[in-house]
Symmetry: C2
Subunit: 203 residues, 2 copies
Amino acid sequence: MNDIKKMGRPRTFDEKQALLKAMNTFWAKGYDGASLKDLTKAMGISGPSMYAAFGDKRELYLKTIDLYADVDACEPVVIFETEPDIAKAVKGFLQAVIHYAVSRENGAQGCYLASCAIANIDEVEGVAERLDKAIHDTDTRLAARFDLEKQKGNLPSDFPSINRARLMYDMRQSYMFRGRAKWSKATLEEDLDYRVKMIISSS
Amino acid sequence: MNDIKKMGRPRTFDEKQALLKAMNTFWAKGYDGASLKDLTKAMGISGPSMYAAFGDKRELYLKTIDLYADVDACEPVVIFETEPDIAKAVKGFLQAVIHYAVSRENGAQGCYLASCAIANIDEVEGVAERLDKAIHDTDTRLAARFDLEKQKGNLPSDFPSINRARLMYDMRQSYMFRGRAKWSKATLEEDLDYRVKMIISSS
DNA sequence: TTAAATATATATCGATCGATACATAAATGC
DNA sequence: GCATTTATGTATCGATCGATATATATTTAA
């Protein structure tokens, strides 16, 4: 539906692929630590191409944050939303988080928001609102699944969905933090079952 | 005992005070975002004085990390170690953490390690080992209090001290994260009692 | 009083920063 | 065809980066 030919010389690179490369560069070096040279080299494009496509360094950064929040960080959430059994869903979520936390490429371990974006929350305009939205969106999305289980009668009617959703998100951030600090998958999984219990316990 | 007069012109500034100012600057702007101009202005000294006293920018950064780990971040831990009742100790720890997370000066909210240092873990040599040590030291210190309570008979003999210590530290990091993301003290305290209960629950 | 030692202030270094001017290449519209 | 539009590659801008050379000020040792 949207394949109307545009005028002018066509792009020779894929915007999303370039954004992913930029994200990994920011992730490893930080906003100020990642130079335009670093970024354009990783993206495989020239400086002027970057500016034409994304605006400037700050806008590029904000777009990588949007990409992360909308796409990259969602896999564990999807697992949580699709696994039928709620206990298994919680455990599957945390397992996916742990796997994600330790298995990204060099220098980009952990959570992009928690280990990169948050460092510039007051320095780079636009970061704060995106971070706040990402946290609330995830909290809400996780709570929605708990609410669904309450309707089904699989969780008690007084189950505090939003509080447990926040707790679950906090567990995610904790694993991400230790993952970036080079903790092993095995060590992170040690206390997994108790944490699952803590999340779905009703009182 | 250590007031032997040194030769040469004496320092006109206090090293620790200058380090604290440098830490706040790094905290707000990040390692690469904080320029020597920013740093020396905040520290109230000239460039050459900074280099003479601390080496270079990287060494200054590492020294601020040491200062944070050894001094600045310890207040909630001390509360945890000194409050006689273990349940109150856990709650007091988390309350102190929440207070700390939201009440630092502009741009320096949250945990210095989690919102600044960790961003440069692979970029700045020496950060990774300090971060790893700080996490392990805190985990161990928290676990020691649980072990003490086990000896006293206030906690069951099979209480998993190190796992609960890690959980407690993770709760700390979570509050710090949301504190930096501008969450209010009241909101952070909402689910406090449940978290305390789960930290000291024995099964 | 002089020499040695350490800290300070000013001025400035080459390198790199983010960003852009310009000419050229490759597509569409007519 | 030719004009228009958009993207690319090269070369480079002024500003700022981290770091230092130099001269001066202030202390102790003798």
